[in-house]
Symmetry: C2
Subunit: 329 residues, 2 copies
């Protein structure tokens, strides 16, 4: 299945969280600009602030695909300022979740659209359109409210994900993770169609516990990926861990604290029923035979995405492994 | 009643709208820094945007008293930027009511405090405290929802005040004004006490129809001012019209369109049951005898407030006329 030029005709679905996922999706779009690409994004991290609804992973993917993301931080609009937050701090406001002035506009607009009766997936489509995103469909995993909670080891208290991740800087031991509302959540409109007709489903290099985890836990999504696989679609995972560490975020530490091996292999074990292909870094080459034992084909490569060329290169390797070499002319 | 130094012991209540009212109140505070000053501010112009609650007149008074208001525009924080609005515009958002980045912080904080269960007057007190306002109590006229609606002459359609005032730039003929919810509204806590113990009540140079009008229409407030007067308090009005025109805002035009004489005298006639003293500009000196005929003592002076010295001077003249000369040492 080489497909047309620039992978025209290929249908690719990528499940993703924030920074790592958004980078890989951007790489897919660069490597296969003519493919039909659907990004399915975690919403368990969503939070409400000042009556506004913030969807950090969706926004990171949108900003990345729109080419306006701050590439150093990996999230938020490039060149954003924090004048509203500074003023809010002077007024005694709660500012631990810092919203830039340009970023705020996204949340004001989301509120406006929600008030007009739009669903999260409709809001996401409108934001994507206004940001000039073309050729990638961005879907929240669900239109239903799902909230990731983290149990802190220090006092067994459950806190909303962002309170652990941002406020506590993910610098406290955890005991458990749960997704409130997940049982009653339904995949966003179009999601099952996209997975059901995909040639390739990618589990992006995102946190397997709190980014890919909630997506696969929405009733019907994991089954849909398995079904797609059984009818010939390829499922490829890209390890977010390189040499037992993450480029960004607390995945390694969280895995360890929850009793899962903090390595590329530990992540692969969480996707054992899904993977055809699994991408690991050269420093993890020793894990290749274990990946094979689990039934997946290991791709050993440079798994670190350095800038857009790096994102594109890694995505191209995954596309080649899953779909065969691209047709050149 | 000269009171102590800097009018210590004097109790003054000022009813006000936005720009003109906030300037006069600032003048009162400069002229009588030791007086007990209560500002009662119109909330009929309040509006909701993006789930935030905006109280333009209250905010203008707060910004003016905090010394952070943009003195050229007369409203909004000095040096504010509009980065969120610019980004919101790119996202297709509704931006005709332009909120600056620093101004936004006030509305985020208000939302936060309202969500925590605070009333508008509690929110106002907290904002005043955080803004470092000292010596002036700022009260919204009511904690209950009141909305000023304007009927447009062009098609008899009723629109919320800000849609007429900001969106249509007050540049369309009007037919009527009404205050939705006013019958069931109650004066904010502390308001009747302040009026009931005041030595002086000032009707600031604000729009009599849509700024002072709603305040006096809250059941109990107009009666309280009349009662205060009957027990010896002085009620002073300051004309917002000079030579039939306003410094800022559409008061003259609105009066004309509603069949009220667009002059200092037209305004005085709306306060006929209240006024002991009425301040008019020298260009309106010819109206002095009419003011007297109505039963009020005319003060003919320079009624234009040029900067803070001008605000202070005008306020001092009102204080002198109402309370007698200030005690010097």
């Amino acid at each position: 299945m080489p497909f047309g030029r620039d992978r025209a005709g290929a249908r690719v679905v990528a499940l993703a969280g924030g920074v790592g996922g958004s980078r890989f999706i951007r790489g897919l779009h660069l490597a296969a600009p003519a493919a039909h690409l659907t990004a399915v994004v975690n919403t368990g991290d969503d939070l409400a602030r000042y009556g506004l609804r913030i969807s950090p992973d969706v926004d990171t993917v949108l900003y990345a695909l729109a080419g306006i993301v701050d590439d150093v931080r990996g999230w938020g609009p490039r060149g954003d300022t924090f004048r509203a937050m500074a003023a809010l701090e002077r007024l005694g406001g709660d500012t631990w979740f810092r919203l830039g002035d340009i970023d705020l506009a996204t949340h004001l607009r989301r509120r406006e659209l929600v008030d007009a009766g739009q669903t999260p997936s409709q809001v996401t489509a409108e934001l994507a359109r206004r940001l000039g995103i073309d050729g990638v469909t961005v879907l929240p995993m669900t239109d239903d409210p799902v909230a990731t909670w983290i149990q802190l080891a220090e006092d067994d208290r459950w806190v909303p994900f962002q309170e652990y991740f941002v406020r506590r800087r993910a610098d406290v031991p955890i005991r458990a993770v749960r997704f409130e509302g997940i049982e009653r959540s339904r995949p966003a409109p179009g999601l099952l169609d996209a997975v059901g007709t995909a040639h390739l489903v990618v589990l992006c290099p995102s946190n397997p516990l709190v980014s890919i985890g909630p997506i696969l836990a929405v009733p019907g999504i994991r089954d849909a990926v398995r079904t797609a696989r059984s009818r010939g679609a390829v499922v490829a995972g890209v390890s977010p861990l390189i040499g037992g560490a993450t480029v960004k975020g607390p995945a390694a530490r969280m895995l360890r604290e929850l009793g899962i091996e903090p390595s590329a292999m530990g992540v692969a074990s969480m996707y054992a029923d899904l993977l055809d292909i699994y991408v690991i870094d050269r420093v993890d080459a020793g894990l290749a035979s274990k990946v094979e034992e689990q039934g997946a084909r290991p791709i050993v490569t440079d798994a670190l995405m350095r800038g857009r060329p790096g994102e594109r290169r890694l995505a191209r390797e995954v596309l080649r492994a899953a779909l065969g070499p691209a047709r050149e002319v």
